[in-house]
Structure formats: structure tokens, C-alpha cells
Assembly symmetry: C2
Homo-oligomer: 278 residues x 2
């Protein structure tokens, strides 16, 4: 573990660390925001998963989340969106390979060797964070677009591990949209039977435990009809008896201008859930 | 004038426009944030000048200012930091040429043809903004680093034009520091007599009108001792009887993590000044 950035921010510390990931077999970076309260006591953690093409930088430079994390005493951890490096399989397209790991464990070559982002973000990274920073083992998770998909499947595949879950403009049914079909074919193979274990809508239909989800979606999102299809999440949650708060916002698009406009409410939502659990 | 970006943000609209600048002789971009209040009535404008290497994008993606502009009903305009384009003189260094216009009017070749950023940001751009957007003619100005220098000289050279002025980590005495000496030599020539008209500390010493300035400076700023030297501004303001509020903040560096941590107070400061003038 080596700290490669450190900046004072809203009374706390915005940092970027690099480390050698045993799960991914490559060097990875992640960002951590330590609120001022963490100098005195261990604090709960909100994990952020980014969208296609993002690194650990997008959320920390563009979301404005640190102000609210400082208010509520939440640690923020922003992960990268795939394994990285010269020895890691890649593809020239923006929606496959590096920058597009889809937060799953790949089974197909050439991806299977490194693309195990699910195990990384739901096990190796939390263990690292909880052992190296003043963090409790209370965790929540949120994400954007492909990272919203990641937050949803992490919640559904790791019951009880996260206290609360939210997403901005998530991919909710990757098996049914072009981004997901392309990635799942490459990472999981052509047999769509193997896709359901990584598809939030499919997982919701078969989930034994009821989950609670908070989703914000912009109505002017350029990917709304083709890639996101939030009505499928609404239908799956309703059919399975899950508690989905899905808000749609006129005029907002898919960008960080949407995220920054509503991140305060997401941070407050997670902080309330995490504090009621203590 | 052509709008090339538009994003809903905190109930208002974050836009980027391009236009042909008569003053600069090239195509320019600027960003404008229109708060929700501007749909009903004309609102005052805060101009933002960025630091070395910045375009109109840095402030709008990283500062988080839109939230506070929406609260106070301020229009935000972020300018580019130099003339741009293939026909505009440039230099490979980050601190000269495109991205480093220093908000002055150059007299030396090859710069004099296009590098007239002072006239652009203090005349052409305000006229454009006030004729194309729901803006009043009440204006304030702020900036960062080289843009802080720009905000200070704009205030001192255009008495009465701006209602209030603030800066983050400004270059205050370009004639006395390496960044400024290099740029002034190139743009204004080797005769340092011609530099005083573009140097905030020199202008403060000779200003007929008393000015009021609000400056925030990080104590861990990597450029503090070599390029910024805020004590020179303190001494010049004191000698001239000007009203300088200079705050220093332990641990904060030169980055946007510093700006975003204190931008709320700058927006509130300008909003109060602009509303008391109405």
C-alpha cells in the first residue's frame, strides 16, 4: 500500500492509494476520503462504483460528495472500474476490457485471469480498507451506470454485507441491453443461463431476502431507453416484494452534473441507515 | 454563438458556448451556469478566471459552485485562460502561450496579435453575457492562481466595474515571481517599467480608489513561497489603505480540493455584495 495523493478537503483528507491486488493479479488504485471525525474514532464506509471508462478519479473530482461525507462522518471509498495494466487483457472499445469490468468475475478467456472485480470490490477492497483506515465494518454501497449495476448485484449477492444501497442511472438488466449483452458474452460466454447470477433484475426475482434500494434516474438521460430501462427494476422489485424508491428527475442527463445535484441526498440516506444500525 | 453543452444541474442549467471573439481574433469557449431564478428574472453574474492550463471546464466540473449559485441566484461565467486555436501563437511550456494568457493585453510579438485576454474578460465577454443571457449589469469576479491575479488586476484597472472581488491562492506580484517574470517578459517585453500596469501589488500602491478584496490561501500550497507570496498583497493593501480579508488555511494545497472546500463562502460573499447594491 502506497499513498500517491493527499489533499485537505472539507476538513478531512482526500487520498489516493495504490496496492497490489491478489484477487486481480495487478496493481490497483482506489480513492479514500477520510472525514474529520475519523481522526477521533472509526467511521462507517460508503463504497462508490463508477461507470464505463471511469477510474477512482471521476467521483472524487466531480461529485462534490466530500462536503456531505464530512457533515455525516462517512468514509468514502471510490474503486477503479476494472483491473489495469499492460499485462491485463483489454479491448479498444470503451465498453469492454479496461475501464469496463462490470464488477463481475469473468469465466472466459482472455478475461478470466484478471477480471474478478466482484471479488475485489466486495471482499479484498473492504478487508483492505477496514484494516488500514479508521473504518468500522459497517458499509454501504452506491454507484453510477455500470457502477449502479455493480452496487445492485453486490447487495443482492452478499446479503447482509451492505447496510444500504443506492444508484444513479444504473444498468438494471444487463442481460437485456446492448452494453450488458456485449460484456456478458465476452466475460461469461454465450450461454445466457450463466448471466442471471450477474443481472440485478434476475437476482431480484429469486432473492430470498427482501432488499431496500434507492435509485435516482434523469429523464433526459441519453441512455435511458436503450441501456438503462429502469421500469424493469421497478417491475422486478414489485414482483419480488422488494422496497424500491425510484425517483425520476426531469431534464437531468447521464453526467456528473446529475450526480452532484443529488449526491447530498444519497449520502444522507446512507448515513441515516448506517447510524440506525450502530 | 453556439451552445455546445447543456446539462441540468441543481435545478438550473450548466452550459458551454462557443463564439467568435473579435477582440482575440479566434474562436473561444466559455461556460455559463444559469440558476433556476434566472428563468424568472435577470440575475447578477460572477465571473471566474482559471489558473495555468485551465479551460472553461475546470471550474464547472470540479468546484461544486453550482449548488451555491443556485441557492443565491447568481449566474456563473467561467472563461478560458487564453486565446486558442491552430492560428494562435503557443509555447510548449505549460506556463506560456495557450492556457497561460495571464489576463493581460500583450504588446510583444508573436503574442500581440491574439493575446488580449484583459479586454476579452473585462469587456467583450461581459457585453456578450449581458446581451445573450438573463443577466443584469451587476458583476463580481473571482479566480484561482493566475486567475486570481486576473481578478485582482481586473478590479484595480476597471474601478467600479465589479461589485466584489475574491481569489483563491492568487499570484499577487507577478513582477516578483518566476511565473510572472517569464510571462511578462514574453508578453510585455524586457522593460520592467511596463509590468507595473499588470501587477496587482503595484496597482494597489497607486490606486486612487480604495478596494475591498477577499483572498483564501492554503498553507500547504506547493507554490506558496515561490510564486504566490501573499504577504506582498498584505503589505501593499496595508500601505495603500485597502480592505483585504486574507485567510490562510492549514493543510490545504493548490488544488480544486481547496477551492471546493471554501467556494460556498466566496459565492455567499459575492451574493451579499451584489444584493446590497441592488
Amino acid at each position: 500500500m502506497e499513498r500517491i495523493e493527499q489533499h485537505a478537503c472539507f476538513g478531512g483528507s482526500q487520498e489516493v492509494w495504490k496496492h497490489s491486488s491478489a484477487v486481480l493479479g495487478c496493481e490497483m488504485r482506489f480513492a479514500v476520503y477520510l472525514p474529520p471525525q475519523s481522526r477521533l474514532e472509526a467511521r462507517p464506509v460508503l463504497y462508490w462504483l463508477g461507470g464505463l471508462t471511469s477510474s477512482e478519479q471521476n467521483f472524487i473530482t466531480k461529485s462534490g460528495a466530500q462536503r456531505y461525507a464530512a457533515e455525516h462522518g462517512l468514509i468514502l471509498v471510490a474503486a477503479d472500474s476494472s483491473p489495469r495494466g499492460a499485462g491485463v487483457a483489454d479491448d479498444p472499445a470503451y465498453d469492454l476490457g479496461q475501464g469496463a469490468g462490470f464488477y463481475l468475475n469473468a469465466t472466459e478467456e482472455p478475461w478470466a485471469a484478471h477480471y474478478r472485480m466482484f471479488d475485489y470490490v466486495t471482499a479484498e477492497l473492504p478487508a483492505l480498507v477496514e484494516s488500514h483506515f479508521p473504518a468500522t465494518d459497517a458499509r454501504s454501497i452506491a454507484g453510477h451506470s455500470m457502477g449502479g449495476h455493480g452496487a445492485l448485484i453486490a447487495t443482492l449477492k452478499r446479503p447482509g454485507f451492505y447496510t444500504s444501497t443506492s444508484a444513479f442511472a444504473p444498468i438494471v438488466a444487463p442481460s437485456q441491453v446492448p452494453w450488458g449483452q456485449k460484456a456478458f458474452t465476452a466475460y461469461l460466454g454465450t450461454d445466457a443461463k450463466n448471466w442471471a447470477a450477474w443481472d440485478a433484475c434476475a437476482l431480484l426475482a429469486s432473492a430470498a431476502d427482501k432488499v431496500r434500494l434507492f435509485v435516482d434516474q434523469g429523464e433526459a438521460d441519453e441512455f435511458l431507453e436503450t441501456q438503462l430501462k429502469p421500469h424493469l427494476l421497478h417491475e422486478a422489485a414489485k414482483a419480488g416484494g422488494h422496497d424500491l424508491m425510484l425517483r425520476t428527475h426531469p431534464h437531468y442527463d447521464h453526467s456528473y452534473y446529475f450526480i452532484t445535484s443529488f449526491i447530498a441526498e444519497h449520502i444522507a440516506y446512507h448515513a441515516a441507515a448506517l447510524s440506525s444500525e450502530r
